[in-house]
Symmetry: C3
Subunit: 416 residues, 3 copies
């Protein structure tokens, strides 16, 4: 019981930290976008948190862990409306005493909303709020937990074996969270098209600078803090060796990711690019997430450094493909999510060619499913209610049209 109590304290702390990541995402997104769409982005992010939790409560949790605890939970099998704990859900028998059933639900519920948040950044400044809300409800409520069930719900990916490799491995969700969001971001961006003015008539990408870089930087530091919980909590107990190693690999990869992106971008672009530095940190964090418990500190540094380099190249690639991703979400969450997933086959205690193949195959399976479902949802929305705001609305900003409100309505300059 003492150990359950301690484990549960750790898991509740991690739950709180993952919750706090939503402030980080919000800050990052509003900071890197234009002022006229700030209220809209905040609205989307607050909506995602609330509806993400509620969808997970209504059905997501049951959907994601279908066979969990001897059939007490089935596909959309509710105990009345919502959730209900199994009899042993508060005892050390549940989940090897790593946490209580309530904590399990809440920790996983905080993860659920993350996938939609990733999309939110990529589609910012031009998506219709109604369409985005419908997408979020479906993607968080159905797609995310279905993919999650394949691995974390003991589904087929968790037993996908090739040669010596026994099952896909994704510790805290480089694929199951970050690239699930990233694939949808990619599809959404492709179907939405770029913002007015993002590409000149000859196809050259133009800078559409954000309106509050300090807030974006704060967002990244808050996300790094949140990752203490995101990865640290994915140990699913407070096991001292496991949790503390994971925090070390997580932080070293973040630091190395930042330095990698800083150095490469300084060499390539001859200036000290703060945004690239920040995205490098995020890339390192996403990159270590699949194998944070398998890596030595040295390997974490290498994975992070490479993630930082990948970010710089990835952002350039996205631009070259004429995809308009205002916050770099595709490079960070999709490309580094794939990198982190594959890195499990290259570095750390599971490394091996067979594991690499399993990792790659799982990336493709998850990618195929996410691309398909995201396309169906977003395409259906496009053909019905429409997904893109009018040109006038986009130029004026979404805040005034959808919300009748400015982000800084009373802001004045100092008269002195």
């Amino acid at each position: 019981m003492e150990l359950l109590t301690t484990n549960n304290v750790w898991m509740m702390l991690c739950t709180a930290l993952v919750f706090f990541m939503h402030l980080g995402f919000s800050f990052l997104e509003i900071g890197l976008t234009r002022q006229k769409n700030t209220i809209n982005i905040l609205f989307k992010n607050v909506f995602i948190i609330c509806v993400g939790l509620l969808m997970y409560y209504i059905g997501g949790f049951n959907l994601m862990y279908p066979g969990f605890e001897d059939g007490d939970f089935g596909f959309l099998k509710f105990a009345g409306f919502g959730i209900a704990a199994p009899e042993n859900g508060m005892t050390p028998e549940y989940a090897d005493g790593g946490y209580t059933w309530w904590t399990d639900f809440l920790f996983q519920g905080m993860f659920a909303a993350t996938a939609a948040t990733i999309v939110s950044g990529a589609v910012a400044e031009r998506i219709k709020l109604g369409a985005f809300m419908i997408f979020t409800v479906i993607y968080v409520g159905l797609v995310y937990p279905i993919v999650g069930s394949w691995q974390w719900g003991s589904g087929f990916l968790s037993s996908l074996s090739i040669g010596e490799a026994e099952g896909f491995y994704d510790f805290a969700g480089s694929t199951l969270v970050h690239s699930v969001g990233g694939w949808a971001a990619l599809i959404a961006v492709a179907l939405l098209g770029s913002r007015i003015g993002k590409f000149s008539s000859d196809g050259k990408p133009q800078a559409l600078p954000g309106h509050n870089i300090p807030v974006a930087a704060a967002g990244v530091l808050i996300l790094w803090l949140g990752w203490f919980g995101f990865n640290g909590g994915s140990v699913l107990s407070a096991d001292p060796a496991g949790t503390s190693l994971v925090l070390v690999t997580t932080c070293l990869a973040a630091a190395a990711g930042g330095i990698g992106a800083f150095v490469l971008s300084t060499i390539l672009y001859k200036n000290y690019d703060l945004t690239m530095f920040l995205n490098g940190i995020l890339g390192g964090l996403v990159g270590i997430t699949a194998g944070a418990d398998l890596m030595s500190p040295n390997e974490a540094v290498i994975i992070g450094l490479l993630a930082g380099i990948i970010i710089v190249l990835g952002v350039a690639l996205i631009d070259k493909l004429k995809l308009d991703d205002p916050v770099g979400a595709i490079a960070v969450h999709l490309i580094c999510g794939i990198w982190g997933t594959l890195a499990v086959g290259i570095f750390g205690s599971k490394a091996g060619f067979d594991q690499f193949l399993v990792q790659g195959l799982s990336v493709l399976i998850v990618g195929g499913f996410c691309v398909t479902t995201a396309f169906i949802i977003i395409f259906a929305l496009k053909k019905t209610i429409g997904i893109r705001v009018s040109e006038k609305e986009e130029i004026d900003g979404l805040d005034s049209h959808e919300h009748g409100m400015d982000a800084y309505p009373d802001f004045r300059l100092n008269q002195h």
Copy 2:
């Protein structure tokens, strides 16, 4: 001893989270008010934290828990100046091993300042700083701990019985914290009068928009995070079943509160109102606070949803009554505080008509005392040093007159 250590870690974490709520309150208040009063509001909030802690140290704690631990603490009985721990204060004998005496003091001390913070938002942009500071010292130093002693200090409310109901119930302070602050806010707003320009000559409320909505939104997310500690710590130990249920009910009520306010305000006002969404979240949080440990997740969702609806109606009601509450503190903390307190008689494991009566009676008793004391203090201040700044000062903004400082003195627009 292992369990005491774990419990104490949880309680210290919760203490830190409740402390952090003060940043949430500060952000919410400055975001929803005009730029010219920003320094003043920050000053008030920082003052409240410091003086709240010190007043609780000088006498509040002893006053709130008078008979606690076999008479070692009496009414204003100091061990010298300030506080001193009882002999067993660091052992598992103290408080059933839920925490140490030091943690007890600090956790409760962090709560104490909250009541005054609630008032701060409602009276913003027109109250004299000196008058507010005097009010804070008295209200935090005397009124809050006296009311607290009636229930949490094992006073008469805790044994107020009607029929089958055995005592008032207020888990984490819907009444003892939030409505204690809310009643004073109501009185203060009534005695202060509305801000210049808030009501037109024919009595219609005018929008006086705030100056930094992103910061207000961040404030709400920080407050939600803080509520993990506010409610989670009110279990007074790390008991796994208790704490993790409380976090689930707290978060579900917050999410449902947001959605409730969002849906109703969208229907009523035909636009996506971020401020209402945010206040709905806060309403859900305040609403669940009295019974967070008694409710099932389903009940928490219902309580939250209703709180969200109450917020939308409450804000309109306050406007109709020509009360000028710039941040919606009365609707959030007073009205939803009452709602949450009564909900303990309607939902959850203590529900029943007798309990409902006890809850209602306690709301009236606490309300009567708070209204009376707040009126005496504020009326006395009004008749002596005055509580309202001059018209010129209000129009110019309090920052330049009281602080000789702008909030963004060097802010410039981009010249490109």
Copy 3:
């Protein structure tokens, strides 16, 4: 094992909180400086976190704890590249079961970057980024861990005895962290010279107000939160009596520091100075840091109050000496760091004249070393690559020249 798990959870939480202090430092620095240098300051702070962690990983940790755990770690003795845990590093045998080896590394690593962050604020708005980065690498990578090894690595300061006093005492780093940073700040400011316009032709200090005071205030509250981990974690276990007392003394000193600075500055300058209030809080926090575990709450209040008074006088003194420290880092970290260190000889359970002498002597030894090394590094940089940006760059702002970026590039005023 249960106790190790709990201790380790606490220490990981404290590690996360100390990490979060970097957001606090960043916010404080950008808030109190001019908008045109915001990107530059954020870049420096993000760089410090990343490179601080990586330097500590490459060699700092081994350097700071050279003889730790029976010779497994020597001076720059790597297990391959980077760090490697000893065999017992995850067992209760390590560090009396207070934490695992990984947690030890990460907690200490988060401390390491702090010293450079302190310097960052003092030299803001005029230092060359390249020079600052080189300085940071050397100071964090070598100077900080060498000084740390003298005390926390069981070096000669820890056994420096005079009469009855058995060794220097610095609980959480008033000297080893704060004044290590503060001395370097002093030297750097002296070698850099003041910002253009800071002193008029007749030598009078001019106000160069910052651009975002709310962000600076948020920074201070985040730093206070972080200090829960900074001091609370310095117990090096979750020992209930130790940790909870430390949080109480820390918070009371912070509150008293704020009130002390508020009262004195109001008397002296006849206005309610928010910046002074905030710096008083920081002064109280730095002041209690050396003896947070030795003091009673009453003593903590006195130490904090005096620290608040010292801040007001210290800021005036720095101005008088024509040193230009935009954020008050020297008064906060150096002067209050010395005050806190000496206070261990005056108050609390180690008080005594002999201890006072040991404390003072240690301040001088550490100060001598830091002044010397900082001077050598910065003077060498000055004579080679130069440490100060051109006059044009300083007037235009560092953001446009070094980063090609504005902090708020798309910020617009409300048109209504």
